[in-house]
Symmetry: C2
Subunit: 329 residues, 2 copies
């Protein structure tokens, strides 16, 4: 097929598809990877030169957002399939996305997400936020902590990332409650419940993980009222999107010592402004939106997921990782 | 039997044996826990009042060190067995320890040690030392990192703690090399080698865990020369004892950016003096000797190990966790 890969010039290298990575992935894909005509672009001019002919587009969200006008049927008449090299599509207005099958790379983040959440849970259980604070003050403050076994984790969003996190938590003997739109059982969860009982679950949550997509339904899902439902000393981890949380209310709860700590990888807004109070909020550990993107495996795994979807698409089978813009993920 | 439990008044509560914990452990031990005459003490005066009659002593290292003169055959003629509620006995001069069977609680720390080392490895792999530094400076510095799969961990000291850490590392797909005095295979290690090839192993070590006892043979085992054998960017974790490392040489290597980071729970000396350079050494994460002692399970697990040893002792079988003062552990 006629495939075009559009990189965004200002993206970090971890998110750029190189011709070498493409060649290796095509070889891994076997027959599915052979016989394509492939071009690479990094500017709108480069895209315009090929827009009329391409059938398949591979791009990250920044490139996609820029290209949306050029992807409409009048300007990209042969376009039949779009693959996003990112899982979150909350930056794309559904009305602007051309009406062709659309898949994302969800699953590519799973292993790294499982590791990052494990780190975050262990840092919170070991009271690392306090240790970091003490080290800054040259203070030897011996506080002894409990391990993870038997403790309660709630995973809000049981997709590839939340599922991988739940598996690691179960490995360490935690009791995991999963929350998702369709509450089917999950092998790593003691129970899976629907979003309608979120308030009840929060009241018995020691550790809360946010790993759901950002949609109109999940925006500020952890608002001030719900933060107030968490037991004293509860801890929060966010690897989804910053606006899932009322960030100001979370900072209030931490500074008032109502919560035990937080490890956040995503913020509202990003990058975090220099004068934001969150930088110095008590027991707050921040990572700059890097938690789930493995510097080495991210693009290779994404391309493997692309080829699996391409195979389904060409057979007329359902896509493996379709994006449904009416749900927002 | 006539059992005495000596607590040290200035120890943190996590290390104190309460009558309730003793009663619960005795019940768990079944027949082995029944029929003993038990006393508790927290001062030398309290000990002196019972010293002549006791057959079994349970105490932590601080209490033991104080009691050593009172434990000699002339003053404690009935003493037949000592159990230490700590694994490290490096604070006790071998010549001063009375010549009776001596066991420690090694194994009580294993699960917590496995969790702490997992946290440390993930913090280092995720470049948390840099994230912590960046947060302090209100700097949004996006660096992407690799997961643990396939990466090389060397575990120096494959006892209960090192073994548990190796198991967790293997769970995350790391390639683990174990180093111990008697290089028998270990199920979580790709290979186990003797201490005589330490230098060669260091040269291919991405993450180095020190989890061995402190003895004359291991003091400063990671000296300046050996730190220099580690590849650029290698990371160090220490849950053993501070003097295993030439701390000044480690700080030099970190400040010179030759190493990628360190997570240390133990130091030389402790508590760390306020003016020690280590507090502000680059990419250094410090915890105040709390990593492997679970606030809830530490004493219950230690007492379970005590009863298992008591059972062996009374049957005339080898102790389960004997301390050999000629080896130092």
């Amino acid at each position: 097929m006629r495939i075009h890969i559009q990189n965004h010039p200002r993206q970090p290298p971890v998110f750029l598809v190189t011709p070498e990575q493409w060649a290796e992935a095509a070889e891994r894909a076997g027959a599915e990877g052979a016989g394509h005509r492939v071009s690479f672009g990094a500017s709108e001019v480069e895209f315009a030169a090929v827009g009329e002919t391409i059938e398949v587009l591979i791009a990250g969200p920044a490139a996609l957002k820029h290209l949306l006008p050029a992807l409409q049927p009048d300007r990209a008449p042969a376009l039949r399939f779009i693959f996003s090299t990112a899982a979150g599509v909350d930056g794309l207005a559904p009305a602007d996305v051309p009406p062709v099958p659309f898949a994302n790379n969800r699953g590519a983040h799973a292993e790294k997400a499982g590791e990052f959440v494990t780190m975050a849970l262990l840092m919170l259980a070991n009271d690392m936020p306090q240790c970091i604070e003490d080290q800054k003050k040259r203070h030897w403050g011996q506080g002894f902590t409990r391990g993870l076994r038997g403790r309660r984790l709630t995973v809000l969003g049981l997709g590839a990332m939340g599922g991988a996190a739940a598996e690691q938590a179960a490995h360490f003997g935690m009791r995991v409650t999963g929350i998702r739109a369709t509450p089917a059982p999950h092998h790593a969860c003691e129970r899976v419940v629907g979003i309608e009982v979120l308030d009840e679950v929060l009241a018995e949550t020691e550790f809360l993980l946010l790993s759901c997509p950002l949609t109109p339904a999940t925006r500020k899902i952890l608002d001030r009222r719900r933060i107030g439902l968490l037991p004293p000393g509860a801890c929060v981890v966010n690897i989804g999107r910053g606006p899932l949380i009322d960030q100001d209310a979370l900072c209030d709860a931490l500074d008032a010592e109502k919560l035990g700590g937080a490890v956040l990888d995503v913020f509202d807004p990003e990058p975090v402004p220099e004068d934001d109070r969150i930088w110095t909020t008590r027991r707050m550990v921040m990572t700059p939106h890097v938690s789930v993107d493995d510097a080495v495996t991210y693009i290779p795994r994404s391309l493997d997921i692309f080829f699996a979807n391409l195979n389904a698409f060409r057979r007329g089978a359902p896509l493996l990782t379709p994006v449904d813009f009416s749900r927002g993920y």
